[in-house]
């Protein structure tokens, strides 16, 4: 399939990022009902769903080139956004293989992988046409790549990636490429166990969500990836909302008014998938980020109205945890104009095939 990339758009500075109509219609809107609360909302990551973003295990869209460039800028300024503990080398190769195999199979116009064999020691040739890369290397020999295999392949992928090592009936975040995160720090979390890195999440601990999720993930099967959606909001279409760069974006929260909220306030949806890796037995956790402004979302009448209702009824602890406190009233005032109070059908589908 051909994708019309937008290589010049930016996620900082002049924030020239924009969604095409097609990108808005395929946005993975996360709210099936008018109220939101945490749940263990995990389902099999099959090649289907209410949005086109689910059609391929690793979705590539019109923002691919621009997102890869934004990642490179962030890494140039802060190389610590990519960290891999030394015992994770097998998991690095697992990740490279998984991404190269899926991207080349699902987007043959844009990516290709030629293998002389499947085992470690075989020569592989990888071609990434959108980024203009051709690389021949020995699978299993990190010295034949320009950087370690996990960094190499995740520099060429949209979304953040963490790898969890499984041992002692627990998961440890022992590797990550994190440049488009919703205000969490890999530098802080690297090496932590599942319960440690989920410590700050409010309300969910009391209901046992994390105990159940951990037990479930420890049994995750090879060949049966799962997915969930998570969400927050971001001012301006900015990927790098990290604690490390907070001085650059934190004050933007004070810039929102009922008049500019449609342009400034973005719903940030993470398509999180979980994959058992074959050689390392680790779990790969890709966090694919989609951004849409309130302007974008309100062009789908169901979504504009539903977002108004979800945000109006969000528990105060979640408002605080997601960092919405400062600008939520302005966003709600803007969204209220798009909610006529009619009953909305259950489900996340847009319900329209063209935009008004």
């Amino acid at each position: 399939m051909s994708i019309a990339f937008k290589p010049e758009e930016t996620f900082r500075g002049d924030y020239s990022y924009r969604n095409s109509d097609a990108a808005i219609l395929r946005f993975p809107f996360p709210f099936p009902e008018d109220k939101y609360m945490y749940s263990v909302n995990i389902e099999p990551h099959v090649r289907s769903g209410p949005s086109d973003v689910f059609l391929r295990p690793f979705d590539v869209d019109e923002h691919y080139i621009a997102e890869c460039r934004d990642r490179a800028i962030t890494l140039e300024r802060d190389p610590g956004r990519c960290q891999v503990l030394p015992h994770m080398m097998l998991a690095q190769w697992d990740t490279l293989e998984l991404l190269m195999e899926n991207l080349s199979a699902d987007y043959p116009e844009h990516f290709s992988l030629v293998k002389e064999g499947d085992d470690f020691g075989s020569r592989w040739t990888w071609t990434n046409r959108p980024l203009g890369i051709e690389q021949s290397f020995i699978f299993g020999d990190a010295a034949t790549l320009p950087c370690e295999p996990f960094e190499y392949i995740t520099r060429q992928a949209q979304g953040d990636f963490a790898i969890c090592d499984q041992r002692d009936d627990n998961l440890y975040m022992d590797a990550g490429m994190v440049t488009s995160q919703a205000d969490w720090s890999l530098e802080f979390d690297v090496g932590m166990s599942f319960m440690e890195w989920h410590g700050p999440v409010p309300l969910a601990h009391q209901t046992g969500v994390f105990e159940r999720a951990l037990k479930y993930l420890l049994m995750l099967r090879l060949g049966q990836p799962v997915r969930r959606l998570n969400w927050t909001m971001t001012i301006n279409p900015r990927l790098d909302t990290s604690p490390e760069s907070f001085p650059e974006w934190g004050t933007d929260r004070a810039s929102v008014t009922p008049d500019n909220a449609g342009r400034k306030v973005h719903l940030r949806v993470e398509l999180q998938t979980l994959w058992r890796l074959p050689r390392s037995n680790a779990i790969l956790f890709p966090i694919r980020c989609y951004l849409a402004s309130l302007d974008d979302l309100a062009r789908v009448p169901k979504w504009g109205a539903r977002l108004h209702r979800v945000l109006s009824t969000l528990p105060p602890q979640l408002v605080e945890y997601k960092g919405l406190t400062r600008y939520l009233p302005a966003a709600l005032e803007w969204l209220a104009r798009h909610d006529d109070g009619r009953e909305l059908p259950v489900g996340t589908e847009a319900g329209v095939s063209t935009l008004g």
């Binding site: 990551h45 099959v46 090649r47 295990p57 015992h87 994770m88 080398m89 097998l90 293989e97 998984l98 195999e101 899926n102 499947d118 085992d119 470690f120 299993g140 090592d165 499984q166 041992r167 002692d168 037990k215 049994m219 099967r221 090879l222 060949g223 049966q224 990836p225 074959p278 050689r279 390392s280 037995n281």
Partner: protein
């Protein structure tokens, strides 16, 4: 790399020793198999004339192999029949349904050193460990306890590795487990796979020597005794009464009755088949339920556990 089951074809059958059969399996469609990790196992559906077995075996092929998988099956005299089926019925060209690889016994890669102790056919998961450590360069040692005559059987997998030592039941050749454990460097992880009595002995020796539980790993599955006295079970939600014969597991009987029960390891280790027990007293043989859960008597693992007396009623 998404899938659930695979159709395999037997490419080669080799009897490598009396009672030990080696199978080489390829994808029936000629395609590639999913890669698997050191310590991985695969569950095979064995379609006999009168009944079906689902047995899990460790892969002894090199980790990451996609051209073929290999297993070694010991014929177990007291088995439920699956190993006998493989020894008597399987021939080149036969097709088998198999699940994707699972792994309940992966090496711990933060270990400073890997110490492996195998009893007999319990060597199989360590054959893939050796291949991984050979590639990564991780420090390791394998001690194999077997009959003297069996020590050359695994030569093709072991080469002349100085990290492998054999022990057998004769003066001067027995494994001194406490002495071995006492001589290990700090940061060593211990792995044991063998008959239940040997596993217990090694685990007890490690505990007595002060090893932290997080550094001691035991592959139970496959070693659990699954037969016993026949009994009856009633599946309350399905409304079906099943007879569990002496040579089959409760899970086998449930599946034979046409009820799909979730399962993975079929050896009482993984916890996937845990089922609410509404009535009856279970004889727990699993390694998953806690002492408190066993005492409460509300859960059972039908892959290995049976009725202590009388009839069981399951919420299934």
């Amino acid at each position: 790399m998404i899938g659930d089951t695979l159709l395999l074809q037997v490419a080669a059958v080799t009897d490598i020793a009396p009672g030990l059969r080696h199978l080489r399996l390829v994808a029936a469609d000629g395609g590639k198999l999913p890669p698997a990790a050191a310590g991985a196992h695969v569950q095979f559906v064995l379609e006999g004339a009168a009944r079906t077995w689902r047995n899990a075996y460790s892969l002894v092929s090199r980790p990451g192999a996609r051209d073929a998988w290999e297993i070694i099956v010991r014929r177990v005299p007291t088995s439920r029949g699956g190993s006998a089926f493989i020894h008597e019925q399987i021939k080149v060209g036969d097709r088998l349904v198999a699940g994707w690889p699972g792994n309940l016994f992966a090496p711990v890669r933060i270990a400073r050193h890997h110490l492996m102790i195998a009893g007999g056919i319990g060597i199989t998961p360590f054959l893939s460990y050796l291949a991984e450590f050979g590639f990564t360069g991780a420090g390791h040692a394998l001690h194999v306890c077997c009959r003297e005559g069996e020590k050359d059987v695994f030569g093709p997998w072991l080469g002349n590795s100085p990290a492998v030592a054999f022990h057998w039941d004769a003066d001067g050749h027995r494994l001194d487990i406490p002495a071995l454990l006492a001589s290990q460097p700090a940061g060593t992880h211990l792995y044991v796979c063998g008959p239940a009595a040997m596993n217990d002995e090694v685990m007890a020796a490690a505990a007595a020597a002060g090893w932290p539980a997080s550094h001691v790993h035991c592959e139970h599955f496959g070693s659990a005794l699954s037969g016993g006295d026949p009994f009856r079970a009633f599946l309350a939600r399905s409304g079906i009464e099943v007879d569990v014969a002496e040579d089959e597991s409760l899970l086998d009987a449930i599946e034979r009755a046409g009820v799909a029960a979730p399962c993975l390891c079929r050896g009482g280790a993984c916890g996937v088949c845990v089922t609410p027990l509404l009535e009856g007293e279970a004889e727990h043989r699993d390694h998953f339920l806690s002492a408190e859960e066993r005492a409460a008597g509300r859960l059972i693992m039908p892959c290995v556990s049976r009725a202590r007396a009388g009839r069981l009623v399951l919420d299934l």
